[in-house]
């Protein structure tokens, strides 16, 4: 027996060691992969983010360097917190909070501790960084806006959040990604691909050399520059005209579908959302739930289209053959159906199509609309036909473009009314659709696109914001025309009517010498719930137009909230925008001055005043002295002087 004691001990120890090895290396293994190995420092090499140019090659967005202090919680060693906080210009509370946040994200991956140090702070800190084990400085590049305009177009970049990281593992805590506008929709093109350097560390956290001679390192792929379709001069001019107003303007080049201007008012300076001040300013903009500066009214604003939609009904009626251009329809100060009456401001009389459009006659379009619906056996089929024609203009659905946000709007169809009126359905139920008020809802960009399709006499290109990407061709979606269901010959009479709008009709005061502008005014009733009482507010002012009549260069939709008549605010703006784009000079200085000195801020304040107020005709305009008008942005100035 005695000789077995050692034998057994040796075998037993061998087994215990094997079990322990198995426990350490297999069962409870903390096996390093290159990305979580704490002996390997991962240094990210961020590529240059692509620049953004306007359609004329003017640089809009560039980069500036920024320095972030990053922390890897599990490598943090006790430090002189007081000194560290002083260097970073933060307090102890913030220090604890940031460290806790970083630990919550990951113990072994770097998290941003303090973002966007100034160059001066960086210079001081860099010297002392050695003392703070677990912290390091990450150089990044921030956006540098070379302009003060186009915040809603250009968007901004911000730090990724946990959801972004979950969606795309490319992103690591502290990375920047596009949050709005072009930065968002073209994020992957603009950002490029970051490179990683693997560096072997020693136990004192010092770098001792590249890991595996750098064979696993990746080189950053530079972000690509993009050229957007925006004409910064026109954009700046539009933003300038929209001061003290709320609404949106979309201008499209009908021949290409390129968006020349996309204005959402009120707006802000894109530089406010750069770097350390971003979160403060963003919160301020975000919390403004009344003016909603982050709400892109030209893309997200869903409104009743109003009278411009009469153009659509005219086209459908011609296509369906329910009216000829010469047929005269009587307006008896409105339209009577059953025992009801729809009013009209056109002044009664016999209207053919041209006159109907020119005078925006409600009775004419109500008649025509009913004929469209009643052409089929029943109105349910009729509404489906009508709906399909309207949808072929890109209404009632997302445009499938390259903009970060959008809204569907609504073109009601058979199914929609089936739900609303399951029992019986007559054309008169939806008579408001005839004048663009009822269930029809559009966004300014949809309306602009509709006008572009009219300007093209029957087709449109999906409106888009990108003009060129470095080394890439644009997707076919943006270069292939989309045909409407209306035949080409039916457009001419409608366009003639739109020309008359300018010559003799509702926009006759807005003519611009030398340009044949085709337009249509719109005045849209709108309501708001104040203390749960449905209250009518001053009408929205809408204007759609394209010019010149032949070979159109610009089609646009202007929407001014609570601006009353279409010609009052929206029409003036449209005329000036067209003159600016087509002629590059402004002769209608009178319109310009009127717009700049008239504010709608008092109108917007009414519902929140808590006092009774008058609308439409009862409104008093707020006139502001010319001295208080904000200067024309630099972008627009340069070319005007030339």
């Amino acid at each position: 027996m005695r000789q077995f004691l050692l034998f057994i001990s040796v075998i037993l120890v061998g087994i215990i060691f094997t079990v322990r090895l198995f426990y350490l290396q297999v069962y409870n293994s903390d096996a390093d992969s290159i990305l979580n190995d704490n002996a390997i420092r991962k240094v990210y090499d961020y590529p240059k983010r692509g620049f953004v140019y306007d359609r004329n090659g003017k640089l809009l967005v560039a980069n500036q360097p920024s320095y972030d202090v990053m922390v890897i919680p599990r490598e943090v060693e006790p430090l002189d917190t007081l000194e560290f906080c002083r260097l970073l210009k933060i307090d102890k509370e913030r220090f604890d909070k940031q460290l806790k946040k970083a630990k919550h994200y990951s113990w072994r991956l770097p998290s941003p501790f303090v973002s966007h140090l100034s160059k001066e702070d960086y210079a001081v800190l860099q010297e002392k960084m050695r003392k703070f084990t677990g912290f390091h400085i990450q150089k990044r590049s921030l956006r540098q806006y070379e302009t003060t305009i186009g915040a809603n177009v250009l968007g901004d970049i911000g730090e990724v959040n946990n959801r972004d990281i979950a969606n795309d593992p490319y992103y690591k805590m502290g990375d920047l990604m596009g949050k709005q506008g072009v930065e968002k929709s073209y994020d992957t093109i603009l950002r490029g691909r970051k490179g990683i350097k693997f560096i072997q560390k020693d136990r004192f956290n010092r770098n001792i050399g590249p890991y595996k001679e750098g064979t696993l390192d990746t080189v950053p792929e530079q972000g690509k520059d993009i050229k957007i379709t925006i004409d910064s001069e026109l954009q700046a001019y539009g933003e300038w005209l929209m001061q003290n107003k709320r609404g949106g303007i979309i201008a499209i080049e009908p021949g290409t579908g390129e968006i020349l201007a996309m204005i959402a008012a009120p707006t802000y300076n894109p530089n406010d959302l750069v770097g350390r001040k971003r979160s403060k300013n963003y919160t301020k903009l975000y919390n403004d739930s009344i003016a909603k500066p982050l709400f892109n009214r030209s893309l997200q604003g869903v409104y009743s289209p109003g009278s411009p939609f009469k153009l659509m009904n005219a086209l459908i009626a011609l296509q369906e053959g329910v009216v000829t251009t010469n047929e005269k329809i009587a307006c008896k100060n409105g339209y009577n159906y059953g025992n009801r009456h729809m009013g009209c401001h056109c002044g009664s009389g016999l209207r053919d199509m041209s006159l109907g459009i020119q005078k925006s006659c409600n009775a004419y379009f109500a008649t025509v609309y009913r004929r469209i619906l009643e052409k089929a056996d029943n109105s349910r089929e009729g509404i489906e036909v009508w709906s399909n024609h309207a949808k072929s203009f890109g209404l009632g659905n997302f445009l499938n473009n390259d903009l970060a946000v959008g809204q569907k709007g609504r073109i009601p169809d058979k199914a929609y009314y089936q739900r609303a009126y399951p029992e019986r359905f007559y054309s008169t139920y939806t008579i408001s659709n005839a004048i663009g008020q009822g269930e029809v809802l559009t966004t300014p960009i949809q309306l602009a696109n509709m006008i572009a399709a009219i300007a093209n006499r029957g087709f449109y290109y999906t409106p888009h914001i990108v003009k060129a990407i470095e080394g890439e061709t644009l997707p076919e979606n943006f270069t292939k025309p989309k045909y409407t269901t209306i035949d080409k010959e039916h457009f001419e009479p409608v366009i003639e009517g739109m020309l008359e709008v300018y010559k003799k009709g509702t926009a006759s005061s807005l003519q611009v010498e030398g340009i044949d502008i085709c337009g249509k005014t719109g005045t849209v009733e709108n309501f708001m719930k104040i203390d749960s009482v449905k209250t009518q507010l001053t009408d929205h002012s809408i204007f759609v137009a394209f010019a010149p009549k032949d070979n159109p260069k610009i089609a646009l939709a202007v929407f001014v909230e609570n601006g009353y008549f279409g010609s009052r605010f929206a029409g003036k703006i449209a005329s000036l925008m067209i003159e600016k784009y087509v002629n590059k000079t402004i002769t209608r200085k009178d319109l310009e001055k009127w717009l700049l000195t008239h504010s709608l801020e008092n109108e917007y304040a009414k519902p929140y005043s808590g006092e009774p107020f008058q609308i439409n005709r009862g409104s008093q305009y707020q006139v502001i002295p010319m001295e208080d008008v904000i200067d024309l942005p630099e972008e627009a100035k340069t070319k005007l002087q030339r």
């Binding site: 005695r2 000789q3 004691l5 050692l6 034998f7 001990s9 040796v10 075998i11 120890v13 061998g14 215990i16 060691f17 094997t18 322990r20 090895l21 198995f22 350490l24 290396q25 297999v26 409870n28 293994s29 903390d30 096996a31 390093d32 190995d37 002996a39 390997i40 072997q200 560390k201 020693d202 136990r203 001792i208 050399g209 890991y211 595996k212």
Partner: protein, 424 residues
């Protein structure tokens, strides 16, 4: 039986296993100690270079030792033993301190650690004394003499503050037990270790409570009851020992050793404090466990261990060399090393049992036991099973003295074994 050709009388299994360990050990030293490009494998300024030279020289040593007549070792064992003691005593005058231990002679450019050779010398002396015809290990008188033979070098080494090497002399307990040391030593030894651990872990009161149950349980289970005074005395001794252990732990032990025990037995109740303690006092252990753990199944590959390259584990080329195996060769490689060690020790023990001469058997058994203690303490320590004790892993850890010490230890036995056929 054996072939008559002299060259094949040596036990080639032992020799192959020995060189497998030394060779693989060197690869790991290379990985753990190289910085940048390796230009010269025999560079005398790099650990791996020196170790390769040591290995080559150890081959010369082996040839030398195998050519000496087997009888020489038995005949000159006393001389060798006393010479070894002299070399240990000499350290007090000429010794050089490294890491707090005065265990080295500085020979100008290289150092020599006599304690590494003292193991083989003591094994020879023990074998000689035990195999003496007049020695009866069951007699207390002889037990004391053997004890003195073992304790003198152990004590000298302890005085030089090399506690790890002192512990190795515990290996002789296995040898003596094999040769007939009464069982009572084994029982008392085990009880003492159990008592000490219990006293540290659960405190004196609980320890005494448990002891009382065991002692009286044993007492009442006996049919023929001895005097009642016996269990009382036993318990009193146990109480004294418990207090002594606590006292030693609380006041006598240096801080670093106390911390090691605290961590090993998780004596600190506050988990956060223990964690903090681990980070500070047991930095080596923490890093060594992490490095081993980082290896996973297959390891990161030779020279690919990032923690090894980054020198995260201090003393990695010496006492912590096994962490390199763990990180770079993974479970498979580490298991292989454990397996080869076990096989080598078992092979030596098996050969020892085959010996006809008692001298050869006792010596062989000593070799196996010494290797076993090194293996147990070193690998147990780096994996956190045993409190941190500085002791090299045979044939793996860097160091010329250590390598030659083990070479001499093992190859004296290989020579003795080869001579088995000539014994009667």
């Amino acid at each position: 039986m054996r072939q008559t050709d002299r060259h094949f009388k040596f036990d080639w299994i032992t020799i192959v296993l020995f060189f497998m360990l030394a060779g693989f050990g060197w690869l790991n030293i290379l990985s753990a100690s190289h910085t940048g490009e390796i230009i010269d494998y025999l560079s005398f300024t790099e650990f791996y270079g020196k170790q390769l030279i040591f290995i080559i020289l150890s081959v010369v040593l082996i040839i030398l030792m195998l050519s000496i007549d087997a009888k020489f070792y038995e005949r000159f064992s006393s001389v060798i033993y006393f010479a070894s003691l002299l070399s240990l005593v000499g350290l007090f005058i000429f010794g050089k301190s490294i890491n707090g231990a005065t265990s080295w002679y500085d020979l100008g450019g290289m150092t020599l650690q006599p304690s590494e050779f003292a193991k083989a010398a003591t094994a020879l002396a023990v074998a000689k004394y035990v195999s003496d015809l007049q020695t009866d290990i069951r007699q207390f008188k002889h037990q004391i003499r053997i004890f003195i033979i073992i304790v003198i070098p152990a004590f000298l080494i302890l005085l030089q503050k090399d506690a790890g090497s002192t512990l190795v002399y515990g290996a002789f307990f296995f040898v003596l037990y094999r040769e007939g040391l009464p069982k009572i030593y084994l029982i008392i030894g085990s009880l003492l270790i159990g008592l000490a651990i219990c006293a540290l872990k659960f405190g004196v009161v609980i320890t005494m409570f448990i002891s009382a149950i065991i002692v009286f349980g044993y007492y009442f289970s006996k049919k023929k009851k001895p005097s009642f005074i016996q269990p009382i005395i036993t318990l009193t001794i146990a109480l004294l020992i418990s207090f002594l252990v606590r006292f030693t732990y609380d006041t006598l032990l240096p801080f670093h050793q106390k911390d090691r025990i605290t961590i090993w037995l998780s004596l600190e109740k506050d988990a956060a404090k223990l964690e903090q303690m681990k980070k500070k006092a047991a930095y080596n252990l923490l890093e060594s466990e992490k490095a081993i753990s980082a290896g996973g199944w297959k390891g990161k590959g030779f020279m690919e261990g990032t923690r090894t390259t980054g020198k995260f584990v201090p003393e990695q080329h010496t006492d912590y060399i096994f962490t390199t195996v763990g990180e770079e060769w993974g479970f498979i490689g580490s298991f292989a090393v454990v397996l080869v060690f076990v096989l080598l020790i078992l092979r030596i023990l098996h050969l020892a049992e085959l010996q006809k001469s008692q001298f050869s058997r006792v010596y062989g058994y000593s070799v196996g036991a010494i290797l076993f203690i090194h293996f147990l303490i070193n690998i147990g320590m780096v994996m956190g099973l045993i409190p941190t004790i500085g002791i090299p892993l045979p044939l793996f850890s860097y160091g010329g003295s250590g390598l030659w010490g083990f070479t001499i230890l093992v190859f004296i036995f290989v020579k003795l074994d080869s001579n088995r056929i000539n014994e009667w």
